[in-house]
């Protein structure tokens, strides 16, 4: 098949990618969208196999068989709570493949300066994505400390690293050869840079990092596309790059922090919040049941704590019982409720919560004053009114779900302790707040039992 024909067929594949992403705009059509995208990929791969340059198939067969096995098993086995780790690793393998494609492209025909620059970029971005993602995976899976690792001259060291990387890249492009020592230095330094870039980022900021690395893996594919003059890589890489950047922005906005602040400083407890004092009003399951039984409008506000307690299934059951009781039930989800964008939605969908009950923060806040009971499960900072009112609070300015505007708030909590940022939460002392102490799963299960009797 001629190169012309192959490139024309790539256009069809690109159109399918675009169409697939377009259908991701609603949960009703998303499955089809994903399928279309996969068909596009299949077409692109098959048509490539007909290219004239392809003379040996044994390496392809080995790679495809091994890769498919690993991918398929991982996709079937992964628990939904571990999706962030999975996506981190996928970002890494995307980076690795761009690095390798760039490297292997050096063995091809004589390359011009422009191509060499893009090859080096592909290696560089790929390398940073690979090692950064592995480190992000380590932090997420708690193989290593999930805290921010900060040391004195960190920024200076990173700047020097970046400068050295640029110098070596230029030297390589000036005198290209597959045996050039600069090539190996560039690969090593880019891997090191990836590690250094993710080290100072704390566990709570991981949603931002995964999104950003997602974007890098797209950009790496883009650079590889330039390196081998392939338009489908450029189009697909740019789409992925854009997706990652948008998600990064959403995450940053949801935490009211700039990207620079997330990337370069561990969560700084520079400010000390005004100490909140007051009396918490505990409630027991029987009284909570009486209030819920009379409610016509209940919203659940889940945080990652709910997933840790594996309480999503009993929560769904309680939601169904409330609905059967004639109550309107919603789930209000803060953008950073899980450990990656949209994570909480997937966890609830897995527990069979209908997706039209999942409400975004901006949709629930205006009607919060009409909500009879807001049930906060395993969430803390995302419902902390200090973010709205206390200028001294470290989380001041962060958009929150205004549960304190609801008529009654139930906070399910093991005991009195703060969230990740160590911020006191005035919500607990609110006039309309009732604390339901104990394990979230057991408390909800007890409520379910009350409803059933």
């Amino acid at each position: 098949m001629s190169t012309e024909l192959i490139n024309s067929i790539y256009i069809i594949a690109a159109a399918l990618f675009v169409f697939g992403l377009k259908q991701m705009s609603s949960p009703a059509t998303a499955v089809r969208g994903n399928l279309l995208s996969a068909v596009g990929m299949f077409i692109a791969v098959v048509v490539t196999l007909f290219a004239r340059e392809i003379v040996e198939f044994q390496w392809i067969v080995i790679g495809v068989v091994v890769g498919s096995l690993i991918g398929a098993v991982a996709a079937q086995k992964v628990a939904m709570t571990s999706m962030p780790e999975m996506v981190a690793l996928f970002n890494g393998s995307g980076g690795a493949s761009s690095l390798l494609v760039g490297w292997a492209a050096l063995y091809g025909a004589e390359a011009g300066t422009f191509t060499l620059v893009t090859i080096i970029l592909s290696i560089l971005i790929g390398g940073v994505t690979l090692s950064g993602s592995i480190l992000a995976w380590g932090k997420l899976s708690e193989v290593m400390t999930s805290k921010a690792v900060v040391f004195g001259a960190q920024r200076l060291v990173n700047a020097a690293l970046l400068a050295a990387l640029v110098v070596c890249s230029v030297l390589f492009v000036l005198d290209p050869s597959v045996t050039s020592p600069y090539l190996y230095v560039v690969i090593a330094l880019s891997l090191l840079l990836g590690v250094m870039a993710v080290l100072p980022i704390g566990g709570a900021d991981m949603p931002v990092v995964i999104s950003l690395l997602n974007s890098y893996s797209g950009l790496a594919a883009c650079a590889a596309g330039f390196a081998i003059h392939n338009n489908i890589l450029i189009v697909a890489g740019a789409l992925v790059g854009a997706a990652g950047i948008i998600l990064t922005q959403i995450m940053c906005k949801a935490m009211n922090r700039s990207l620079a602040n997330v990337l370069f400083s561990g969560f700084g407890a520079v400010k000390t919040a005004t100490v909140v004092e007051g009396e918490v009003k505990p409630i027991n399951v029987e009284d909570a049941y009486v209030i819920l039984e009379a409610a016509t409008n209940v919203t659940f506000v889940p945080g990652y704590g709910m997933a840790v307690a594996q309480a999503q299934h009993v929560v769904r059951e309680l939601g169904e019982l409330l609905e059967a009781n004639g109550c309107e039930v919603t789930f209000a989800i803060h953008p950073v409720a899980g450990r990656m964008p949209g994570h909480m939605n997937v966890l609830l969908a897995e527990a069979n919560v209908s997706y039209d009950q999942l409400v975004e923060m901006d949709d629930i806040n205006p009607r919060m004053s009409n909500i009879d009971v807001a049930v906060v499960i395993g969430a803390n900072d995302v419902v902390n009114p200090a973010a709205r009112e206390d200028e001294n609070s470290p989380i001041y300015g962060m958009p929150i779900i205004n549960v304190d505007h609801a008529r009654t708030v139930f906070v399910l909590k093991r005991s009195m302790s703060s969230g990740f940022s160590g911020v006191d939460n005035p919500l607990f002392f609110g006039e309309n707040t009732r604390m339901l102490f104990g394990d979230a799963k057991q408390s909800i299960a007890a409520l379910v039992a009350e409803f059933k009797t």
Partner: protein, 101 residues
């Protein structure tokens, strides 16, 4: 000239990407990301060529590794996205009405 054309493709794709992705609801952001993983596995197309040009052994090994990594992304990414999207169900109104009675 080819570089300029490819640059044009890049610019347009980025704008298109922003338009498309900003329409994806927050509910689907996790599947969007794993789906994006799958799409970035498109480097497979490049990897296939580098694994099979019949040149030096080392280059073929690099290509083979690249194919493996990219295939993990493609196969794993699409499958896990499909698995996740399958969980997003809407209760049909009939069942809801039934539950209320």
């Amino acid at each position: 000239m080819e570089a300029v054309l490819l640059g044009m493709v890049l610019m347009l794709s980025i704008f298109l990407g922003f338009e498309l992705i900003s329409k994806v609801p927050a509910t689907l952001h996790t599947p969007l990301m794993s789906g994006a993983n799958a799409i970035s596995g498109v480097t497979l197309v490049g990897a296939l060529t580098s694994a099979s040009m019949g040149q030096e052994l080392f280059a073929s090994i690099l290509g083979c590794l690249a194919v493996t990594m990219a295939t993990i992304n493609v196969v794993g990414g699409y499958l896990v996205t499909n698995r996740m999207l399958g969980m997003f169900k809407k209760k049909d109104t009939g069942a809801k009405a039934g539950a209320r009675q």
